[in-house]
């Protein structure tokens, strides 16, 4: 299967990124990602080419990743390991050393907001909008009907928007409906909002 290295290169961000949201430690995410590819490899080696061609690789890989991550979270050393746990601050991949401080803060904010969603919504929203899967791929990954995941994603996004607005509202010292003020007018607010979410 000479195409396999290319497949790993192609899908490693999806698999790793998904695993990463299930575990507080980057090393665990890497283990999960590695095991996902090994399983995929073993499965694909036994498939005839037509069957491989018919596979929806991304949804299928995401499903393997999720199963491994769930099992690990259930049985492993990190029973409650999930999004909402404090990340390992020494972790070089959390949430990305190459990012600027602003990007880092933005990511932490959204990470926290996403973590606040009910499980079903969080999973569906994450797969759709973080990992960038299509709806059918999300449905395949979660083993849930297409209609269900679509509505979970929509509801989840709506909740996130509300949560974000509530957050912003709380942080606003001078409420003015329809305020179209420019960014330069409230640098302090933005700073506070961002700093508050560094958990």
């Amino acid at each position: 299967m000479s195409a396999f290295p290319r497949m790993v290169a192609h899908h490693q961000d999806l698999v790793y990124g998904l695993a990463r949201r299930w575990t507080p430690r980057a090393a665990d995410a890497e283990d999960i990602a590695q095991e996902t590819f090994l399983r995929a490899y073993r499965a694909l080696s036994g498939y005839p080419p037509e069957r491989i061609a018919a596979l929806h690789l991304r949804g299928w890989l995401a499903r393997i990743t999720l199963n491994l991550a769930r099992n690990r979270a259930r049985d492993g050393a990190h029973p409650t390991a999930a999004l909402d746990e404090a990340p390992d601050r020494a972790d070089p991949h959390d949430p990305g050393p190459e990012r600027s401080a602003e990007q880092r803060e933005t990511a932490l904010l959204w990470r926290r907001l996403l973590a606040g969603l009910p499980d079903h919504y969080r999973q569906a929203v994450g797969l759709r909008h973080v990992d960038g899967l299509s709806y059918p791929e999300v449905a395949q990954a979660l083993g849930r009907p297409l209609g269900t995941v679509k509505s979970d994603v929509h509801r989840g996004v709506r909740l996130l928007r509300k949560a974000y607005e509530a957050e912003a509202e709380m942080e606003r010292p001078m409420t003015r409906d329809g305020d179209t003020g420019t960014a330069e007018r409230r640098p302090a607010t933005a700073m506070r909002l961002a700093s508050e979410v560094s958990w």
């Binding site: 299967m1 000479s2 396999f4 290295p5 790993v8 290169a9 490693q12 698999v15 790793y16 990124g17 990463r20 980057a26 890497e30 590695q34 590819f37 090994l38 490899y41 080696s45 036994g46 498939y47 005839p48 080419p49 991949h93 949430p95 990305g96 602003e102 990007q103 803060e105 933005t106 904010l109 959204w110 990470r111 996403l114 929203v125 994450g126 909008h129 973080v130 990992d131 960038g132 996004v157 996130l160 928007r161 974000y164 607005e165 912003a168 509202e169 606003r172 409906d177 329809g178 179209t180 003020g181 420019t182 960014a183 330069e184 409230r186 640098p187 607010t189 933005a190 700073m191 961002a194």
Partner: protein
Amino acid sequence: MRTGRMVAPAAGRLAAARDVLAGLRTLREPAPPSLAGRVMAQLGPVDSVDSYSRMQTPLWPLLVAWGRDGITAVGRADDPAAFEAEYRSRTGRPVRLVREVPDRLTRAVEKRMRGESVPGLRVDLSGLNEFQRRVLAKTMEIPHGEVRPYAWIAEQIGHPRAQRAVGTALARNPVPFVIPCHRVVRSDGRIGRYGAGGSQSKRAVLQSEGVDPDELERLAQAGIRYIGSDTTRIACFPTCRNARRITAAHRVPFRSARDVTGAGFRACRSCRPFPTAQAA
């Protein structure tokens, strides 16, 4: 996106945060550069995955599988799924269908089917135990167009009582045609089991080699196990090439090794129909 009631975002810092979808995209985490290398290191050389494909033969289309250590399996092409499942359970390795059997192997299988030897041909018998390997190795010695009884194999490998086990080992021969398990038959003249398609197939393969299965059965039912020549005074299995050369006028049938030696004949050194000690 409703932004009317929201705090005006700082340019840059909160611009992404304002849009839920853009915000979620900031959570993407690229895989560490070490990941792909770790995966490939775990797999070992990727080319080591066993492959199989279809090849046409004068008898039937076959499936031929090969790995790093040579030909690993041969089977009838009518049930690829069963072939794969059987392959996995025997070797513990997956096997993948590829476009074609490499020329070198095609020629090797064709030569083996014509009864020619193929120097350097490697057959990977992993998953088989020592007894099975010895049965198969002995079977390799049977020339094209000749047959031997199960009892002969058992005798030759030093397990004279293990005829049934010999039959089972041959029925599970992973590389029929390459190792000619079809050339081993029952002492009572019946054709016996055949892993690659049952007795009817076995008859067909033997006929393709010039063996007449009906004649074998007739001889066995008449109690005739060996044919001697009254000119050379040597006795053979009926299908031995030496026996086939004996003209009708000089053929002497024998029912047992004792009869052979009793008549002053000796066993052919080519087909070794019975151990010399047994006849003495």
